[in-house]
Amino acid sequence: MVRSVSKLLICTAIAAGALATAAIAQPKGEPIKIGAILSLSGPGAGLGQPERAGILLAEQAINARGGINGQPVKIIIEDDGSKPDIAKSKAERLVFDEKVVAMIGPSLTASTGAVSAITNAEGLAQITFTGLGPKIELTYKSLYHVLPPQELNARAMLEYTTKALKAKRIGVLHDTGYGQVVLNSLNALHDKYGVEFTAVEKFEVGATDVSAQAAKVRAANPEVVFVIATSPVPFRNARQVKIEQPIVSAIGSASYDYIRGIGEFADDIVFPEFVVGEDPKPEQKEFVAAFQKAYNALPKNFEAAGWDSAQILASGIAKAGGAKATPKEIAAAIRGVHQGAMAKYDFSRDDMTGIELSSYVFSKVVKGKFERLPFVAK
């Protein structure tokens, strides 16, 4: 009888000790809710899924160090299926039913348009994974971007082409979605850089073979070819129709999956991007190491953007007073400079992004891995 009582006492003591330790380590109380709308299915899944990986890692890291001013953070992630109408419905639920204090995402420009109409009306802080979109976004005061405007992406591509490759005649092969947006910016900049687009060919997003378009590009004799698409097909076709010129692509195609899909034709493609996991910049080392430990893979740009969005919101909420902060106060608190893993942002700038050309890292694909090039844009 005495033995069982002492056993019971010992067990209780251990349990109490464990609970106490847990209580000290975990942030406690009502979680601070942040909403996230991402494209986890549909054509945008190639963007949304890496973004989610970064966000979840950040949520874990934030809660591991005690949350925001001691309170846990909960990021509620919804899938918009790459459809802006669904993104809008999810936003209604997150903002008004779940009463999140800030929003992350979406992954695609059209969805951003739909969601920001709601967050802007409420003055709710929204950090999106799309570059500055239609002009109306300039009037939105609480919408911030952690990815560069397409104009900046275009400039990075042109900087490399004109300064490193010293080329003036460019052929473009692009898809009707992401590619079209980048092309519009390229067109706007061609005078400034003194380049000529000798051929511009497009294809639909799900195309099975674009050799005809690629052949047209080759026939125009460019010095450099831009391939802007979210599928490996055009890259393969370009090399197969014997386009031997250097190929420069855009950040949207810079992922290990696409490189794998392009196969042996991927070598020597140049990407203006931000995160080269094989050779990270000093300020990126911590994030890359954490990601590698958690997922056993190297992160790239969209994972880093996901991480940054959550970290920036956490610091903004803390600055605005933690759990008591109103959405509008949070939006105001974020409006400043942030050094993220992907890039350095300045949300007080006109384009609500503030990424500089100098943040870009130029990489070249070598045997399925990315190699950082010495070129730096200014």
Binding site: S211, A212, A215, V233
Partner: protein, 295 residues
């Protein structure tokens, strides 16, 4: 315009055309045997490609063996679709639209499963002859594409022999034209229907294995392929495998010629307009029997 550009356009058009035609072929086979438009045909191809990929990459099987496995898995899938989707619909007096919708649901299901278990990436399958291509006057066509064209043609010939020369083929035709009459003379109509879908699945799996080295395996490719295959099949008259391949060629060539002569942006508008014109001018399709107006 440079000769090599024209040649590239033709090569590209023929390659794409055979891709559409292979899917259209499967749609024609199913329609010929069961009078049902199978919206899952492109997804049979996706499944065939997935099975082949898993066998080649994870288990190290040689390509020919994976080939056979892809066809077999397509056939099994086709038969399962008939038993689990089509038959219950028929038993409850489904209309033509019900069959279309139920196979559409099946297509969504396959696509969603591939996304779930495979992820959103594209996967590469090695082709016949690896990545080599053949040069034709400065234009290029992949060795694999040539193999696809040859195999596609062989399939059409094989199907013709099957329908004309074998008892099963004849039974399929009989069961589709007059089910009651066929049943009366001893043909097991339900079994034949299942086998029809099996054949459609077989052709689909074959198509998938042939097509994926060119376009990469991707969970969304099913429905896109089905749309183009449907267009090819309808152009060909809906019941003729040969017609489907020919219809696919017409579509592929119109597309690529539109790209090089007009503009790549408007290629679909031109292709679709020509499609509609062909349908208006030739109501029985390019190879359908006279009197059958568009099914």
């Amino acid at each position: 315009m440079v000769l090599s550009l024209w040649i590239q356009a033709i090569l590209s058009g023929v390659t794409n055309g055979f891709v559409y035609g292979l899917i259209g072929l499967g749609i024609a086979v199913v329609f010929r045997g069961a009078r049902i438009i199978n919206a899952m045909q492109g997804d049979f191809a996706l499944l065939g490609g997935v099975v082949a990929y898993l066998l080649v990459h994870n288990l190290g099987w040689p390509l020919p063996a994976a080939f056979l496995a892809a066809m077999l898995s397509g056939a099994v899938c086709g038969m399962l679709v008939e038993r689990l989707l089509i038959r219950p619909t028929a038993r409850r007096q489904g209309t033509d639209d019900s069959y279309l919708l139920v196979t559409l649901g099946g297509a969504f299901a396959v696509s969603a499963s591939v996304l779930l278990y495979f992820g959103r990436d594209s996967y590469v399958l090695p082709g016949i002859g690896g990545d080599q291509s053949v040069d034709v006057f400065n234009a290029a066509i992949r060795v694999h594409a040539l193999a696809l064209i040859v195999i596609g043609t062989l399939v059409v010939i094989a199907l013709r022999w099957f329908y004309r020369g074998t008892r099963l083929g004849q039974a399929m035709l009989a069961a589709s034209i007059d089910p009651d009459g066929a049943q009366t003379i001893g043909i097991n109509v339900p079994l034949v229907r299942t086998l029809t879908f099996g054949l459609g699945g077989l052709v689909g799996g074959l198509a998938g294995m042939l097509v994926t080295p060119l376009i990469n395996l991707h969970y969304e490719m099913g429905l896109l392929l089905t749309l183009k295959g449907f267009a090819a099949a309808v152009l060909g008259g809906l019941t003729s495998p040969f017609g489907a391949v020919f219809g696919g060629l017409v579509l592929g060539l119109v597309e690529s010629l539109a790209i090089v002569t007009v503009s790549s942006g408007y290629k679909d508008v031109i292709a679709m307009t020509i499609l509609i014109l062909i349908m208006i001018v030739m109501p029985q399709g390019l190879f359908g029997r006279r009197g059958r107006m568009g099914g």
